[in-house]
Symmetry: C2
Subunit: 125 residues, 2 copies
DNA sequence: CTCTTATTGATATAGAATATCAATAAGGAA
DNA sequence: TTCCTTATTGATATTCTATATCAATAAGAG
């Protein structure tokens, strides 16, 4: 099935880029409703998924959190402020070598890992 | 509010210990129903939360997954097999020094971090 | 044993994300 | 441009996980 370009898809992509890099689907929906009130919530959820599958945005999964979407697609980590709830980028080199440490011992075929940080952001201190 | 000992609480704790270390609330519920059919689902969810707050079991949060409960309370990592979906313990030393790397640059008060691995387990290869 | 109240369990509720499906519109072909 | 196929939309229903509500029950201190 060939993908088609729609006004909705473009609005959604632009909203993700505008909304501080880590918006939820609901936040994207609310943002777009301002300029395009007729958009459906299902369309937003659907396209956010499609856009992340196509690599145009990055889907961020947090434990016990609703999914978020990042316009920065390169590999990087995130930290959640436990006070204000905001998600920030972590400016840190990628941790390497983690894969080998467990492959040896148990015979896992290792695919990926994810690190999630928690703390208090400078603004909330 | 002083905590009381109940049959249900004990059944739930024992079920967690019996069920391969990483059971979901639904799995614990199904397991207990065999011997104690009258137990309520809310009671299972409630006590799993209480037990983890009291440090008797450990609550494991996976992104986009239902919560799981581990009778091993010491700090360790987990890997999820992307084929069978099972969660395994990762036999690896704790990664240290991650906290300092980000504190310096952005002024975060660092509280915790979580690493989640994904791969294919030996059985599924 | 008695009494206070923590706990139970049936049920309702909340929240996130996907499924359904008739109506619409993107975009290739003529 | 016009026609046609079908991907996409948007209203709505559904699924799934977890928590909230609340009358009835029972733990356990006195
Ligand atoms: Mn980011
Ligand atoms: Mn474990
Ligand atoms: Zn903050
Ligand atoms: Zn497996």
């Amino acid at each position: 099935m060939k993908r088609r370009n729609t006004i909705q898809k473009e609005l959604i992509l632009n909203a993700v880029k505008r909304l501080h890099s880590h918006a939820t689907a609901e936040e994207v929906y609310a943002e777009i409703q301002k300029e395009y009130p007729s958009i459906g919530k299902a369309t937003v959820y659907r396209n956010l998924k499609l856009l992340s599958e196509d690599g145009q945005i990055k889907r961020i999964e947090f434990p016990c959190e609703s999914e978020r979407f990042d316009d920065t697609c390169s590999d990087h980590y995130h930290i959640k402020c436990e006070k204000c709830g905001k998600i920030f980028d972590v400016d840190m080199d990628l941790v390497s070598g983690l894969t080998d440490k467990i492959k040896d011992k148990h015979g896992f075929t290792f695919n990926s890992y994810q690190i999630v940080f928690k703390g208090i952001c400078p603004n909330c201190q």
